[in-house]
């Protein structure tokens, strides 16, 4: 309650320390991405490189068809997002608002999905994709994630909190169920959708394992694979170029995050994730 100057000082120092602990690695990443190979190996570490070696970025960029990777990453992440929205919104609505035979069973199925790591199931999926001729296409990266159990769970929670009267008011206004979903439920769940969308986008943008398994050619590879290619060299690792590549991977996400940060807290306050 009282603003003691000493407390204020300690508080400030503490926050600074926090920022250091959590942001320092990025500063390090940025710094390294501008260094020469020799500088990356010096000890004690150098914070500021002697000169800004911009060519690390072009080297990273040119180490593979990065434009293609970037496009693939975008198509996959956005495609997944669109499909997820298309599947989780109606499902969450049905789970939240209808009572129907088997709803518990279906919801159970959904929850089971939540606990399965992709490392466990990729082989059968791989064989299936192959038999459908979808291997090494973007479809193989998109389809398995066309829905999200976590998304359904979150969204159902937030749909449940929409008061019943609102739906009734809409029904009296002669709105179809579809219209109710799109015009009333979805706008009300917007913070949750944005948050979920952001997490989903981040997860798939950054995903390494699935594309690694499902793609065999550059035509369908995504950015994280392009980046690790920089590391898969038999011999010494060029950390400077690797970090430059990682920075290329991170920047779009950073951008999205600062756009969506406000929504996240709100989303959790609203749904009261419980």
């Amino acid at each position: 309650m009282k603003k003691n100057p000493i407390w204020k000082f300690v508080n400030g120092i503490g926050m600074l320390l926090l920022i250091c602990i959590f942001a320092m690695p990025f500063v390090w990443m940025i710094s390294t991405s501008f260094k020469t190979l020799g500088e990356t190996m010096t000890f004690p570490p150098k914070w500021i490189p002697n000169q800004l070696l911009w060519e690390n970025f072009s080297k990273a960029w040119n180490s593979g068809p990065f434009l293609k990777y970037l496009m693939n990453s975008t198509i996959v992440s956005v495609g997944i997002l669109i499909l997820q929205f298309a599947t989780i919104i109606p499902a969450a609505y049905a789970f939240a608002r209808y009572r129907f035979k088997g709803s518990n069973f279906f919801f159970g199925v959904t929850m089971v999905t939540l606990m399965i790591p992709s490392q466990l199931i990729f082989l059968p999926v791989f064989l299936q994709m192959s038999s459908w001729g979808l291997l090494d296409t973007l479809w193989a990266l998109i389809l398995p994630f066309a829905s999200s159990a976590f998304g359904i769970f979150l969204l159902r929670q937030s749909f449940k909190q929409v008061p019943e009267e609102l739906l009734e008011a809409a029904r009296l206004d002669q709105a179809s169920e579809w219209k109710i979903i799109m015009k009333i439920m979805v706008p009300m769940a917007k913070p949750v959708l944005i948050t979920f969308g952001m997490f989903s986008f981040i997860a798939h943008w950054n995903d390494y394992f699935w594309p690694l398994v499902m793609t065999t050619t550059d035509a369908s590879r995504t950015l994280p694979l392009g980046i690790t290619k920089l590391r898969e060299v038999d011999g010494g690792v060029a950390w400077n170029i690797l970090m430059a590549g990682n920075l290329i991977l991170v920047i779009p996400i950073l951008f999205i995050f600062f756009f969506a940060q406000r929504q996240i807290i709100r989303a959790f306050v609203y749904t009261g994730v419980k």
Partner: protein, 364 residues
Amino acid sequence: MAEIRLVNIVKKFDEDTVVNNLNLTIEDGSFTVIVGPSGCGKSTTLRMIAGLETPTSGEIWIGDDCVTNLEPGKRNIAMVFQNYALYPTMTVRKNIEFGLVNKKVPKAERESLIQEISDIVGLTDHLDKKPHQLSGGQRQRVALARAMVKKPKVFILDEPLSNLDAKLRGQMRRELIQLHKRLGTTFVYVTHDQVEAMSMGDQIILLDKGVTQQMDSPMNMYHDPNNVFTAEFIGTPPMNILDRVHLNTVLPTLFENVKYVGFKPEHAEIIGETEERRTDHVVLQSEILTTETLGAETIYTVSNVAGMMNVKSFDNRIMESNVVQIAIPYEKLYFFDEQKERIRFSEKDSAVSQQPKPVIVGGV
């Protein structure tokens, strides 16, 4: 014509009978208030009329159409919900417009309708705000506007004022009465507040446990209750109902079938302890427990041989002592039988006419 008739309506939730063989007629153009204690089935009845619930059995007619199984959107009914149920993500304009868009009303017509209605309810300046930016009274008006713009045959209002504070409630009450007058449409209004019911309705339907207790004009409801339930529900404070056995000394010669005797708080008079006895009154020696001064009137809670009761007095003199006598004229007594049904005697006061002299019961 938009007369609403409920014929033998029964509504069960699982095994719970919430509405039991209800028969109602709500006249076209009337302002009908459904009133009753919490949980008595008011909302359920309303929701069946609106089509938001389907009755277990029975029929609902609006005008000449049997609407029992018609979708809510098709009944030409507008509803105002207790907490307004405004669409929180839409502006006031969009809220009002939503139903019109669904009905495929052309844009130009929508515009002019919105203009017209928002003028009426005084929202013109707020059309581009969202509900959370509005005060309680303004929200209420948006809910009304949204209902009105559809030009429905019937307005249904489920406790629309219960979220407002006393002052605003009084004001909105008057506005609603005037609105009804202006539109001339049927209003069905639900409340559990009898003051609201009394002050607003042309016709009051009093429900208890899904059964109609009385369907009457406010004045009759007040002055001529059919049973103890009505008598105890209507009035601030409501009628005092005394068990006959406590009155045996004061009114020993009542008819056998009279089980309860009631009187209205304002019909009792407080007379000083020492004041002389009155002959045509029941007089009870009492102790004043609390005094609520409401300005023009004062309500005393008193305790006496027959229990606790309220007395309402319009003169504001200060009592010198807590021990007083209260006097109720015989002619103002109401009588009820064992089933708590009103006993009406053909001739006034006949129930106590045989009583030669009143007796004051001693002690408190």
